[in-house]
């Protein structure tokens, strides 16, 4: 299987202390492999510190990997990217209040990008700006506003317009709705989903919110402490999670539709330090299903289609209440 966007054996370490010779390293990503087919929405889900945002930054070209590589159509992309390579992958950040320059009007911000990348001739910039506003469902006068005059949801639309201005092939959305009010999250999610469909873009959707991920993604990878512990098409993952951590995550989510089924409850232990080397499976000290093998050897991520990294996985029997039509 050759994917379109390939992430191969990607590791990222951050020095967090120690000396220059002998630094203390935070292992944010530990040999991650992902392959994303063109036109799909690939979800990455996990809790804080699992490395999902670091992964977004590496793919987005903001952080250099310590080892491994990101390649698009066989061409390796590092953090140093120029011109068209830069444009191909764009990002939408979590907090649009922070990701938009407060000193720049929407028009100036977008015009600067269109000019710099010479995307449209100067006399067509106005038309393109109007088109971009229409794409994100914003009225045209918004162009002359500053971010502080906009609401959270509107700002996020502008941030999406900024990404779209560069006509990217891949959009990385890093928790794009978690900073927004409940009532406006839906409009941003619907917008992203529509754009991916209409423009044939590929999206990497990063979130801690399982319900949102289930709603928007085609395929999902679950991360824990810098590694992928399970990866599957969305339907399979949610109806029959195999890794106990995925099961724990799902049982922890409060639900409205169905009474929560507590299949797996993680033990009250602390997550191991991301600085320390880990023997065996990183989840074993919190895993209620752990066996002796788990502490000794790290299980590899096995399987095509639905893959999991576990010595003692959950039963594949699907959750009955999970997909029941409502």
């Amino acid at each position: 299987m050759t994917g379109w966007l390939e992430i191969r054996d990607l590791s990222v370490d951050f020095p967090v202390g120690g000396t220059r010779r002998n630094p203390v390293l935070l292992h944010a990503l530990r040999s991650v492999d992902i392959s994303v087919p063109r036109g799909s929405v690939f979800g990455i889900v996990g809790e804080s510190g699992c490395g999902k945002s670091t992964l977004a930054r590496v793919v987005g070209g903001l952080t250099d990997p310590t080892s491994g590589e990101v390649s698009l159509e066989g061409q390796t992309l590092g953090a140093e990217r120029h011109g068209a390579d830069r444009r191909r992958i764009q990002m939408v950040f979590q907090d649009p209040g922070a990701s938009l320059n407060p000193a720049m009007s929407v028009r100036r911000m977008l015009t600067q990008l269109l000019r710099h990348h010479r995307l449209v001739p100067d006399d067509q910039i106005d038309a393109r700006l109007a088109e971009l506003m229409a794409m994100v469902n914003m009225p045209r006068p918004t162009l002359d506003r500053h971010p502080r005059a906009l609401s959270g949801g509107q700002r996020q639309r502008i941030a999406i317009a900024r990404a779209l201005a560069l006509e990217p092939e891949i959009l990385i959305a890093d928790e794009p709705t978690s900073a927004l009010d409940v009532s406006v999250q839906a409009s941003v999610l619907n917008l992203l989903r529509g754009l991916v469909r209409d423009l044939g873009m590929t999206m990497i959707f990063i979130s801690h919110d399982l319900a949102t991920v289930r709603h928007i993604c085609d395929e999902v990878a679950v991360m824990y402490l810098g590694r992928i512990v399970e990866r599957a098409p969305t339907g399979d993952l949610f109806t029959a999670p195999r890794h106990p951590y995925t099961g724990a995550l799902m049982s922890a989510v409060p639900r409205i539709g169905a009474p929560a089924r507590r299949r797996i409850v993680p033990l009250d232990a602390e997550q191991p330090s991301p600085m320390a080397p880990i023997e065996g499976c990183a989840f074993h000290n919190r895993c209620p299903l752990a066996v002796a093998e788990c502490a000794a050897h790290r299980p590899p991520l096995n399987g095509t289609g639905h893959a999991w990294a576990c010595h003692n996985p959950l039963d594949p029997e699907p959750e009955e209440d999970g997909n029941a039509a409502r």
Binding site: M91, S99, L100, N101, P102, L113, H116, H117, L166
Partner: protein
């Protein structure tokens, strides 16, 4: 959440604080007086009349005359045209140079930062006034040498301010976002980072102008600033000194002009700072 409510409610109309309005009024009054005052006053500020020296205030000379018989009010007002432009210029050049150097140091770090920071340390190693006096002596008294000397010394403050602001700003998400869109670092620095550091710089500039006006008159008082017969407040204080017992206002009035101007500009800077932070 509560902050947001309070903020939104306030944003309806966020008026300038009283401090800033008072300061702005004082500054405007000085500038208007400087522009139109000399046109309205009938006297030549430099024309001496030894027979009419040291007259008390009268219908003709509202504030009397000085030790050389020149109209005192005219000289006080004409001095605005000397003190203000020189002070604004003496703070302007260091602002431009210091902000540029500080921004480069803060944004690119490494060697640029080392060079700029060490140069700043070097300047600050000398006592300010001594250094300034030495420079003005070396360059010769006068407005130009004062501005040059001020620039050599005062850029340091702007550089430190800009360096700190830029370092804070460059880690913010919108700068990263700009990087993702492929803009070159130089463009990000000038269009995304610096404009956000500008308000703080301008506020610092205003308080720096106050300092410059005081330094300029101190130097003139000591005789190495603006040379006679040009009307300048510091010089006028020095010239009025011998007559403190009989004609106290000759020294007090220029002092008051300085003090009110300094207070006004400080109020404006302080008020604007509050306004921007709220």
């Amino acid at each position: 959440m509560m902050a947001r409510i309070a903020q939104r409610a306030r944003r309806g109309a966020r008026p300038l604080p009283m401090k800033a309005r008072i300061g702005l009024t004082i500054l405007a009054a000085y500038i208007l007086a400087g522009i139109f005052g000399p046109m309205l006053l009938p006297f030549d500020p430099d024309k001496t009349d030894i027979l009419r020296r040291l007259k008390p205030p009268s219908n003709v000379h509202w504030l009397g005359t000085d030790q050389l018989g020149r109209d005192f009010l005219t000289r006080l007002v004409v001095a605005i045209r000397v003190d203000l432009p020189i002070a604004f210029a003496a703070a302007f050049f260091p602002m431009v140079i210091g902000t540029a150097l500080g921004a480069i140091a803060g944004y690119y770090g490494k060697l640029a930062d080392t060079v700029v920071s060490r140069a700043a340390d070097l300047v600050q190693a000398f006592p300010v006034y001594v250094f300034l006096l030495v420079l003005v002596f070396a360059l010769g008294a006068g407005a130009t040498s004062f501005i040059v000397a001020a620039t050599v010394i005062a850029w340091v403050g702007y550089a430190r301010l800009a360096r700190g602001e830029v370092m804070r700003l460059k880690s913010l998400e919108f700068v990263e976002a700009a990087r993702v869109t492929g803009l070159p670092e130089r463009v990000i620095l000038t269009t995304h980072v610096l404009p956000n550091a500008l308000p703080q710089t301008l506020i610092y500039y205003m308080s720096d102008v106050v300092l410059m006006v005081l330094v300029l008159s101190s130097l003139s008082f000591l005789g190495v600033g603006i040379q006679p017969p040009t009307a300048e407040w510091g010089r006028m204080i020095a010239e009025g000194q011998p007559f403190l017992r009989s004609h106290w206002w000759l020294a007090a009035a220029p002092g008051l002009m300085l003090m009110v101007f300094g207070t006004g500009l400080s109020l404006l800077a302080d008020g604007l700072d509050d306004w921007l932070r709220s």
